[in-house]
Symmetry: C2
Subunit: 556 residues, 2 copies
């Protein structure tokens, strides 16, 4: 008899439920619920384009609706029945914190606060707290450098404390009305488990460690003395948050009678600790030591792990290094490129005024070019640089254009630029003894663009694989749930075993072409000159041969 | 009774004849003859895209046809008759040398050689002689540095000796068959004057000084010892070229009976010494000390003059400094930007896939932007840098792009880049005490693009004027002819007087906006950082603030 787990993936515009076969990872049913509030699920403010909030009511409605729909579809499979669902796993965007009352209910669903955007969930891409983030970075650099060392040296406006502090500064009534704050990654499992007290919510190490400066080394969240430097009210809030955060081998709770009833599932099945989407995505893509998982979309999130049995130094520029944030017993390491798909989209749609078909045309034309042939080189910083420079104030660059340079040549140079950016991350990992031998990619671009995959293989010198699942985040959540359910119930004894059973790689792999790599090594050296010069890594740079070297490569 | 002169302008695709009223410069008739040979008058080679030749038969046919047509049209004017034409002036492209026989007849019009491209005129933009040019530069740098000092430090593949030497290397039969070589600027006047011996042709100082390393300081053309280092046959050729070259106050001859008869003009009227189009164009635009004339087209040619009564140092990077090449009694100084209109055309047509109307749309949108607002900065080197770096192996650069950068912003940044390139030339002139107080522009872009003109005024801090004539080159030739005819015949006593009478400026002038200039001064400093770094002027450059400074300017 087969067993199944549900993976729930709360994204930016929708929530997706999948039902995965524990024996092989097959996703036998999927259902997507689009959030009804705001623009594609995001509450915007036309006067402040940094603002991005979400309505928690959408999460609750979407949770119920998408699970029920997926279960309905799953009945088409012989042998499936709701009783065979042995656990639920949850991943969400993050840092997406929201204020809750003493009963753990989101403020935003109360009639008092429902029209106040500050009382809603502060979506990961909300950038209203830029000032607060800078202030936190400044203070931590001076008083608690260890807090920054684990998150790449700069605390972001996208993260937990920046947002809560900004709420305190800009909407003090909401701050005062909130009893506590929860990442939605922690809220959803608690909701399913029927936990009605913020103190009892099992918090995940992933959002805590990567976004809230939580670390067991300094006994959890930032200390009260430090938080009081921001604002004494934040020091007070610390007591109403949490002392301990947990990794994926921990249950967030068991399915409550109420939700078992709503969904038609068995009461008491385990609910996994929630995590950030990319991290469970890494699990769903088969992350292990030596494997880097790249989720390539508008931007990338790059995750790998290193065993806690070895000493891992803080890696400068890597957004986060957190014990247990991906796999229990391993440090989870997260890096990222601020723009990848977004750069191609910008070039095609805004500059070339093209549409989706135009991507295809440019890709085909670009595929006919050899490395170096265009004489072009670009920096992939149109949206700043997340890793390894951690500098949002950088911008794009294109060099080497002549009067004959074509759009396809520029398109290829932009793909190559993102590949060089990917290599800079890998080089940084390896410099700090975190091995990267294989890269598994997820996301639409990885599946649809063989040219990009081949260029990445040639530039990085790593074999590039593509995850077989198109929903690695939800699959990762389902994997985590299968382990919590345990072998006896038809689940798995460990994440490692579950990954072996439930994750797959597409048959088409991309191996580095060594001839191309020789040329890309030369281009990468030029990229590094520009990277280090404009990125401020090297104070003085010799540029005099950059254009000439590009021209020589062009001639072959 | 009115007097008229004919100005003949031999361009890349056609020859133009104008008939100018000596009293006020009015162009009472114009006729254009498109060269029938090759692609728009240019003989190309599909296997060698560096090759560009012209058929001398086209010049002869076009000369006769366009003058006759212009005269025909001129009869519509009361008081005009062919007898009132008192002189002819000639300007041409250059360096465009061609081999001639002992009778001064182009080899290419003989039946033996007419199908051999090497026997035709080697058009200015023929780049087949790149190797020879490098070799000449190398040898001159070692043995005759003074030859290079007057032409910016590098001898070009576009010039006289490179081409002739390449002919000797690649088509020795043609070289051996040629008795002498003539710039077409020297050939056309000689043709009109009926001169049938290369030794008797009056050569112009303009092509001689700017393209053939001729200088009175070293007794004319490069010495035989030097030429023998290239090839002994070139040293022998020197004896069949010329000892002395002449400025615009010199007659090339008088109209022969044969051509007077063909054209219906009076025999014996003076024919001006031929010159390069831009140089007579400078005269037609009113060049004088302190005035820079910019002919803005696909590229620019920038000309000014400095009195020979003052000492003028060699100005590094300026393509040529030649006594008498523009105005007698003045050093003629020539600079240029390798691409201006061509860059806009590339961006609109190749990258944006737009047409002429698209230029208009982008210009309108770009007009709504403030300096610095886009955060972009570009280098105008898509076709290398002619002045002041004299380096064809440089390429374009764009920096500061985000995910929101628009085509119109890039379009404006490209215009600004050419303005910064223009300012670099002006700064170099001024550094060497050549004053530039006013800029007079000619060419379609100057007339059609007020945005560009205003940006140039704001960037350079100079008042920008536009020449009233659309044919300043032909007008300059007509002015020169009017002086040679003399006051008694209805011409003028000097070029200075003729310019006052015959040249005009359009009423719309562009004055620098000082608020914009403050911002452009900051952008120009960043431009100089990139210019000096990538151009190799500074060995080491600090780039760390470039992107951030651009971002600050963006925020105002």
């Amino acid at each position: 008899m087969k067993s199944y787990t549900i993976g729930l993936d709360f994204g930016t515009n929708s929530v997706r439920s999948i039902i995965a076969d524990c024996s092989n990872g097959d996703e036998i049913a999927t259902s997507v619920f689009n959030y009804p509030t705001g623009e594609h699920g995001v509450i915007l403010d036309k006067d402040n384009h940094h603002l991005a909030r979400q309505n928690p009511a959408d999460y609750i409605e979407g949770l119920e609706s998408s699970v029920i729909d997926a279960l309905k579809d799953a009945h088409a499979f012989a042998g499936f029945s709701n009783e065979r669902v042995i656990g639920i796993g949850v991943d969400t965007t993050g840092s997406t914190p929201m204020p809750v009352g003493k009963n753990n209910s989101p403020l935003a669903i109360s009639s008092v606060w429902k029209n106040n955007p500050a009382a809603h969930a502060w979506l990961w891409k909300d950038h209203t707290a830029a000032e607060e983030a800078q202030q936190i970075t400044r203070l931590a650099r001076k008083h608690r450098p260890q807090y920054l060392a684990k998150c790449g040296g700069i605390y972001s406006s996208e993260w937990f404390w920046s947002k809560i502090w900004h709420c305190l500064n800009s909407a003090p009534d909401v701050f005062d009305a909130a009893y506590s704050w929860l990442e939605i990654a922690d809220y959803i499992p608690a909701l399913l488990a029927g936990i009605r007290d913020p103190h009892l919510v099992i918090r995940g190490i992933c959002p805590a460690g990567h976004k809230a400066m939580y670390c067991d080394e300094w006994e959890g969240l930032p200390d009260k003395e430090f938080l009081a430097m921001l604002n004494p009210k934040l020091a007070d809030l610390r007591d109403r948050l949490y002392l301990k955060a947990h990794s994926a081998d921990f249950k967030a709770g068991e399915l409550s009678a109420e939700w078992a009833n709503k969904l038609g599932l068995i009461e008491g099945i385990p609910i996994g600790v929630g995590a950030l989407d990319a991290h469970y995505g890494a699990i769903g893509a088969g992350v292990k030591e030596g494997t880097l998982v790249k989720i390539i979309g508008t931007s990338t999130c790059d995750c790998t792990v290193a065993p806690t049995t070895k000493k891992v130094e803080d890696v400068p520029g890597i957004c986060g290094i957190v014990n247990g944030s991906i796999l229990p017993g391993f440090y989870g390491l997260e890096a990222g490129q601020s723009a990848v798909g977004d750069i191609f989209k910008w070039f095609v749609e805004i500059i070339c005024q093209g549409n989706d078909g135009h991507h295809q045309i440019l890709t085909e034309e670009a595929s006919g070019l050899h490395p170096g042939q265009s004489g072009l080189l670009a920096l992939d910083w149109n949206n700043g640089n997340r890793t390894i420079l951690v500098d949002p104030k950088l911008s794009g660059l294109l060099i080497g254009q002549t009067l004959y340079t074509t759009s396809a040549e520029i398109y290829r140079a932009l793909i190559e630029a993102t590949a060089f950016g990917a290599r800079a991350i890998i080089d940084r990992f390896q410099e700090f003894k975190i091995p990267v031998e294989k890269i598994v990619c997820c996301g639409g671009i990885a599946e649809k663009n063989p040219l990009l995959m081949q260029i990445y293989a040639d530039v990085t010198g790593c074999t590039m694989q593509v995850s077989a699942s198109e929903q690695t985040c939800a699959l990762g959540s389902a994997i985590v749930a299968s382990v919590l359910a345990g072998e006896l119930k038809g689940g798995h004894p460990s994440i490692f075993v579950a990954q072996q059973k439930m994750t797959q790689i597409k048959s088409r792999e991309y191996f580095p072409n060594l001839e191309n790599k020789v040329i890309y090594d030369k281009l990468y050296r030029l990229y590094c000159t520009l990277h280090d010069g404009f990125g401020g890594v090297q104070p003085m740079v010799d540029l005099s041969n950059v254009m000439k070297d590009l021209m020589s490569l062009k001639k072959g």
